[in-house]
Amino acid sequence: MDLQFAEIIPKLGPLLWGALYTIFVGLLACGVGVAVGTALLLMKNTRFWILRTFTSIYSSFIRGTPALVQILIFYYALAPLVGINIGPFTAGIMAIGFNSGAYVAEILRGGLSRVPPGQWEAAKALGLPKHKIWFKVILPQVFNSVIPLLVNEFTMVIKITPLLSTITLVELTRASQMLYNETFRPVEVLTLAAIMYFAICFSISQFGEYLQRRSLKFRL
């Protein structure tokens, strides 16, 4: 069959909007993910046994079930259960955010183990209270050391967003589905969508590698 890219190009609009929407949703979900991940890290390091167990169970669940199932649960099951009706936008961002959070927590845990114990001692010796030690001394160093890994995690989030097409969010995948259903040209449309995803993810991971090279130069 002959490829008719010329036919598609004028209809590129929805695809580009879809791509922007994907990035937008990805950024928000990443933000939620970082917040959740930090919370999990702090919970894992308290002396309250119940919080520590909660984080273990949470991580095990998130990493042991498919992201698609988590999204479906958030959208279809949580509403009847909790009583609040959340739209697909919120449900999608929360679902991906909570998913990403478990992985961010793992990344932060690795970063935490690389903070020298002397930092804890100096902060304690100065009489700083626990919350100040975490937020002013330890966490900044943790985040500094794992920026490339967090950027990589953002790529992962972008690659999960296609699943949101199942809960009616018009991100890039859904936009392309709608377009090839309309034009009967899935080859061209899907190829374009693939190229767009590739461009987004590849640039992000290149940026991450650039950051990694920079962090090696300014070794803290």
Partner: protein
């Protein structure tokens, strides 16, 4: 809050069929993925520039394009070129290719972590490439690649849920099926979540036990790629 257990119980056969399909898909795709991974890895480290760049392109495409788009391309776009694959076949092809790319990177990392001296000793002894890769490098490799490899395998098991979107009757599809009949999203999705959780916990336990026998590091500590 009432849980309609009966809805699940009465349709448990659909669930179990879905579960077996998921397990079947995993059992087929993981070994194929490993083989593809080995092949791509050898291409990736070869001295032939064409082979190397083919491998690099393959890996980068798989890593940067979402699996769902890949699946849609094979399922919806390939028929226009005369290749019409059934849902299950599409799924197996796509998942294996997906796993293959990640396995290739893991194997490459593993080979690089085998000390250079091993290669030099083999060459100095005059051993053939195919011989020493198989008998000297590979056994040492196994210890390094098993933890991350297990993570990829687990990811593949979870990603099989995407096949529900092209009507493959695996576990997630079963949930949609039951939900469509009984309108019990909470129960059905909770049920499959628990089943997936069960599969992954058992899988990780098994893998951890095997890993200990090989003498490697903790699986939980290795970098997780989803």
């Amino acid at each position: 809050m009432n849980f309609d257990y009966m809805a699940i119980w009465e349709n448990s056969d659909i669930l179990l069929n879905g579960l077996s399909m998921t397990l079947l898909i995993s059992a087929i795709t993981i070994p194929i993925g490993v083989c593809i991974g080995v092949g791509i890895c050898l291409m990736r480290i070869s001295n032939n520039r064409i082979l190397r760049w083919t491998a690099i392109s393959y890996i980068e495409v798989i890593r940067n394009v979402p699996l769902l788009i890949l699946i849609f391309m094979v399922f919806y776009a390939l028929p226009f070129y005369g290749i019409r694959l059934a849902g299950l076949t599409t799924g197996i092809v796509c998942l294996s290719m997906y796993g293959g790319a990640y396995f290739a990177e893991i194997f490459r990392g593993g080979i690089q972590s085998v000390p250079n001296g091993q290669f030099e000793a083999c060459k100095a002894l005059g051993l053939k490439y195919s011989f020493y890769m198989r008998r000297v490098i590979f056994p040492q490799l196994l210890q390094y690649v098993f933890p991350p490899g297990t993570n990829i395998a687990l990811t593949m098991i979870k990603e099989s849920s995407l096949l529900s979107m092209i009507t493959v009757a695996e576990l997630t599809y079963a949930a949609h099926d039951i939900n469509g009949r009984t309108f019990t999203p909470v129960e059905t999705f909770a049920a499959i979540a628990l089943l997936y959780w069960l599969i992954s916990t058992l899988f990780l336990n098994l893998a951890e036990r095997l890993n200990r026998k090989l003498g490697g590091d903790q699986i939980a500590d290795s970098i997780t790629i989803r």
